[in-house]
């Protein structure tokens, strides 16, 4: 099986090629946010480097969200164009699950944190001792809420993600259980992790894990601001 994975949901633009359990290639760039310019040239360079026959891939894996709205859409439209041209399906991977897959073989809990602005984080709680277990599915909440839940669980934690640097001070002040911060090679979105997670999901769910490129759409976990404010006008109680 051959999986082409695409990452554009956060600060990293990336792509990877996974072939029957081998990570043949990975290209990852975290440099300003110019995914719109860099992603397709990266794909092109990586494919050329490993003589990839694009028509030979089985499906395209992509982080479906949450993440930067614009980044998610650059990833989505790229994947949709590839899917249309190659007639291949898409395997959407939850972004926070993919981040959790950066770590493996630990008894500690894994808590990815992505900066969601407005004093919130995209997060979730996972175990990945010998296979990913989702204890709390990806969500958008205040940092305090996820810290409270981790304190209640009472187990040691590893934090990963671009939300860690901005939350470091608050974590030091509020975390009651011991925790670690993942180092640079493990703490950002990686297309390789997305590919690995996609392979797992395909093994578990088969074709049910796939969607057509035409129907694939990002999962933002948030409605657009205009829609939220319009909701406010109609019903003041809802979003106070």
């Amino acid at each position: 099986m051959r999986i082409l994975a695409i990452e554009a949901s956060g600060p990293v633009a990336g792509c990877a090629l996974w072939e029957d359990g081998t990570l043949t290639a990975e290209y990852s760039v975290q440099y300003k946010k110019k995914h719109s310019q860099s992603l397709v040239p990266m794909l092109s360079e990586m494919s050329g480097m490993v003589d990839l026959e694009l028509s030979s891939i089985d499906f395209i894996a992509v982080t479906k969200g949450p993440g930067s709205f614009t980044g998610l859409r650059i990833g989505a439209a790229t994947v949709k164009g590839l899917g249309l041209a190659l007639n291949k399906p898409v395997l959407p991977v939850p972004t926070v699950d993919s981040l959790a897959c950066n770590l493996y073989g630990t008894d500690r809990l894994i808590c990815p944190l992505m900066d969601a602005r407005r004093q919130q984080v995209y997060t979730g709680i996972y175990e990945n001792r010998d296979g990913l277990k989702v204890l709390r599915p990806q969500c958008v909440v205040a940092l305090a809420e996820i810290v409270k839940e981790l304190n209640t669980l009472g187990r040691e934690v590893i934090f990963v993600g671009d939300g860690v640097p901005v939350s470091e001070k608050a974590l030091a002040e509020t975390m009651e259980v011991p925790y670690l911060l993942a180092p640079a090679h493990l703490n950002r979105q990686r297309a390789a992790s997305t590919a690995v997670r996609a392979a797992q999901l395909y093994e578990e769910c088969g074709e049910a894990a796939l969607v057509s490129a035409d129907d694939f759409r990002p999962e933002y976990l948030r409605v657009p601001q205009a829609e939220r404010e319009r909701g406010d006008k109609r019903n003041y109680k809802v979003f106070v």
């Binding site: 992603l39 397709v40 092109s44 709205f69 650059i74 949709k80 590839l82 249309l84 319009r230």
Partner: protein
């Protein structure tokens, strides 16, 4: 050229997701437009985030329909063209990302197209014999440009709006007099029952710059008029306000256009853009051209609104000049005409 050049074009610069297949820049095999207007009407204007989400949901279906209605496959294409500016950055990125992925996966050359160049080129589709040089007034919800088209792909901007676009002014006035969004078509319709000479709104001028436009002062004078009537308890005639404002805008557009025609001794003049569908503007411009013995061109409404056929036409003239875009093509919301 002995071989036909077939181009798939994609447009997503505002709230229309569109795809088209065009042969040799003039023959439109398909022109698929998926409009989001119903959604944005709820907000009284285009919401960029919502537009971007809708483009993402619809882009593949629109591109596929564009190909199937043309009876073509992706492999039949000589180039893939896409609007990369100007426009709303979020919406632009969807078309650009899709087009780049299609180009990368198939090896078919990519051509980034300027949106205004597309609007001007709509005239090539509607009038098979039209060739430069001519002057073109591009008027839409986002743009007001008076352009000298010297040759294919060669432009000189004579004037542009210093504030609101003409269509934007229509939208704002329409909102104030309770007509709602989109303002252009609604003002056009209700004006037919009004007296265009009822209220003498000022004709906007830009000091020291003959060909530039200013519509925000004209819009403000309508608001002042409405406020004054309200304070004095004078009943407002919506058709009269609409017709008088429309007349003021039309007068400004026509006078600027005819100055250009006279100064540059042009024999051909063309309209383009969404506001080119305005019936009063079309009629006034046609009359002014006829009086001067100038040939008048105006695309049908389906080619005036944002569409991809016009992008396919503009792309053809870039293609035969050898212009190609790299896979690093980016959306440029502030792209200027003639810039690449």
């Amino acid at each position: 050229m002995d071989k036909d050049i077939t181009i798939l074009a994609i447009e997503s610069s505002c709230d229309e997701t569109a795809a088209s297949v065009v042969v040799n820049g003039r023959d439109v095999l398909s022109n698929v437009i998926s409009s989001q207007i119903d959604i944005h009407t709820l907000y009284g204007g285009v919401v960029p985030e919502i537009a971007s989400r809708k483009h993402t949901e619809r882009i593949n279906q629109v591109v596929k329909k564009g190909l199937s209605e043309a009876g073509k496959t992706l492999q039949d294409m000589d180039a893939i063209a896409v609007t990369y500016g100007p426009g709303l950055v979020g919406p632009l990125l969807i078309g650009v990302s899709e087009a780049k992925a299609l180009s990368f996966a198939t090896g078919i050359p990519l051509i980034g197209v300027h949106h205004i160049e597309g609007h001007i080129s709509a005239n090539y589709i509607a009038n098979k014999d039209l060739e430069p040089p001519f002057a073109c007034l591009v008027v839409s919800g986002g743009h007001t440009h008076l352009v000298l088209v010297k040759d294919y792909g060669e432009y000189e901007i004579l004037g542009r709006t210093q504030d609101d676009a003409a269509g934007e002014a229509f939208d704002k006035v329409a909102r104030e007099i309770g007509l709602g969004y989109p303002g252009g078509p609604k003002i056009d319709k209700v004006s037919k029952e009004g007296n265009p000479a009822a209220i003498d709104f000022p004709r906007g001028k830009v000091a020291g710059s003959r060909y530039d436009f200013s519509f925000s002062g004209m819009k403000s004078s309508v608001l002042n008029y409405l406020n004054t009537c309200k304070m004095k308890n004078i009943e407002i005639s919506v058709p009269d306000v609409a017709a008088s404002f429309q007349q003021a805008v039309v007068d400004v557009l026509v006078s600027h256009a005819m100055w250009a025609v006279e100064e540059f001794h042009l024999t051909k003049f063309a309209l383009a853009g969404g506001v080119a569908s305005n019936t009063a503007l079309r009629a006034a411009m046609e009359k002014a051209c006829a009086e001067r013995g100038v040939e008048f061109f105006c695309p049908p409404p389906i080619l005036c609104t944002d569409n991809a056929a016009m992008i396919g036409s503009a792309a053809y003239y870039e293609y035969i000049k050898g212009v190609r875009s790299g896979l690093d093509l980016n959306a440029k919301p502030g792209l200027r005409l003639g810039e690449r």
